[in-house]
């Protein structure tokens, strides 16, 4: 299973949820499979997906899912400590770990070598860390989001990409329609 298939399998579970999605192909895949105003697509800024997700979760009541990648988390490693020490029970971080920088040509990451992101997340202090395979991602995300406990899921899958369209939606429109959804969930 490759990341695109994992993303597609998540749709029934996340279509109405507040989702912050990682830069590059992950956002483009989500956009292609199920463009929703509840999705915030990152069009730039490598590494900050989980930070945006945490900031959002800490400031309002709606459930938040951040769909991040192994390369992105490695870019912003400190985020795992910040997440662990600022518990937001409405926050789920899904790290789709395909062991590669997918958007830039599948160069290998250290997460595909000796480094275990799940072990790092635990060492940083997060209590609920789940490691799963791509096939189980949707079930694990559903469970985590319904659990009312902050959870980090590291979903292992294979490296590889499919052709996807570029997102041409105006960034301010993406943000404003997303904020409307946030307000609706907090009424």
């Amino acid at each position: 299973m490759i990341r695109s298939e994992v993303t597609k399998s998540l749709i029934p579970v996340i279509t109405d949820e507040l989702v912050i999605c990682n830069i590059g192909l992950p956002s483009q895949e989500l956009f292609m499979h199920d463009d929703q105003p509840t999705n915030f697509y990152m069009l730039g800024t490598m590494g900050l997906c989980s930070s945006i997700g945490l900031g959002l979760a800490l400031t309002q009541k709606g459930r938040v899912l951040a769909i991040d990648g192994d390369g992105s988390v490695l870019t912003n490693f400190g985020t795992l400590a910040t997440i662990a020490n600022n518990v937001a029970t409405n926050f789920t971080l899904l790290i789709i770990d395909n062991g590669s920088y997918g958007s830039t040509g599948d160069q290998p990451t250290y997460a595909g070598m000796k480094t275990s992101l799940a072990a790092v997340a635990k060492a940083c202090g997060t209590e609920n860390v789940v490691e799963c395979q791509g096939e189980d991602a949707a079930d694990e995300v559903k469970k985590a989001m319904e659990s009312d406990q902050m959870t980090i899921i590291v979903c292992k899958c294979e490296s590889g990409n499919v052709d996807v369209p570029i997102i041409e939606t105006n960034p301010i429109y993406i943000r404003e329609r997303f904020m409307e959804q946030v307000r609706a969930k907090n009424k």
């Binding site: 912050i20 900050l48 945490l54 979760a57 400590a81 600022n86």
Partner: protein, 166 residues
């Protein structure tokens, strides 16, 4: 009222409810007051770019954010400022200790000080340099301006400001 209390009072007055910080010696006092204030959620960041991500998320959650950091951080946040804060029009006041100005004792701090204003100008970021304690009166208006125009703004506070304000 101390300078640090006045800064935090102005933040609260302007609806700032989320502050992220990366420490600097000059900012230790204000960070302490932020931490104690019960109207502000304080989330220390490990890196200033991470802090900008947190503030972007908080803003979308309906809470105005502010980042408190050192000017050396300008060097490591240019991409986050351009592609997140500016691209999505997220207002972000940046209260910045302006290290490397007159009175500085660490020579290396001067190396980033000489680039600070040029980088901010290149990024079209409205920049305010507080050199004297009396300039703190402008802070309230700058915050209001920041949220009106939905831009990042830089408030540079140098050693002379902190000496004359406290």
């Amino acid at each position: 009222m101390s300078v640090n209390d006045k800064i935090v009072e102005d933040l609260v007055k302007n609806g700032v409810g989320f502050v992220t910080t990366v420490p600097c010696k000059q900012l230790a006092g204000v960070i302490e007051v932020v931490e104690k204030n019960n109207q502000i959620q304080h989330v220390p960041a490990n890196h200033e770019a991470e802090g900008m991500g947190l503030c972007a998320g908080a803003y979308m959650g309906g809470t105005r954010g502010c980042i408190i950091m050192q000017n050396t951080a300008i060097g490591v946040t240019l991409n986050s400022l351009a592609t997140l804060i500016q691209y999505y029009q997220i207002p972000l006041p940046m209260l910045i200790s302006y290290r490397g100005e007159v009175g500085e004792r660490v020579a290396c701090q001067v190396e980033m000080a000489v680039h600070t204003k040029a980088l901010l100008a290149e990024m079209n970021i409205p920049t305010y340099h507080f050199h004297d304690g009396s300039q703190l009166d402008e802070f309230d208006g700058i915050l209001n301006h920041t949220f009106m125009c939905k831009k990042p703004t830089a408030i540079l506070t140098d050693a002379s400001f902190w000496r004359t304000a406290s």
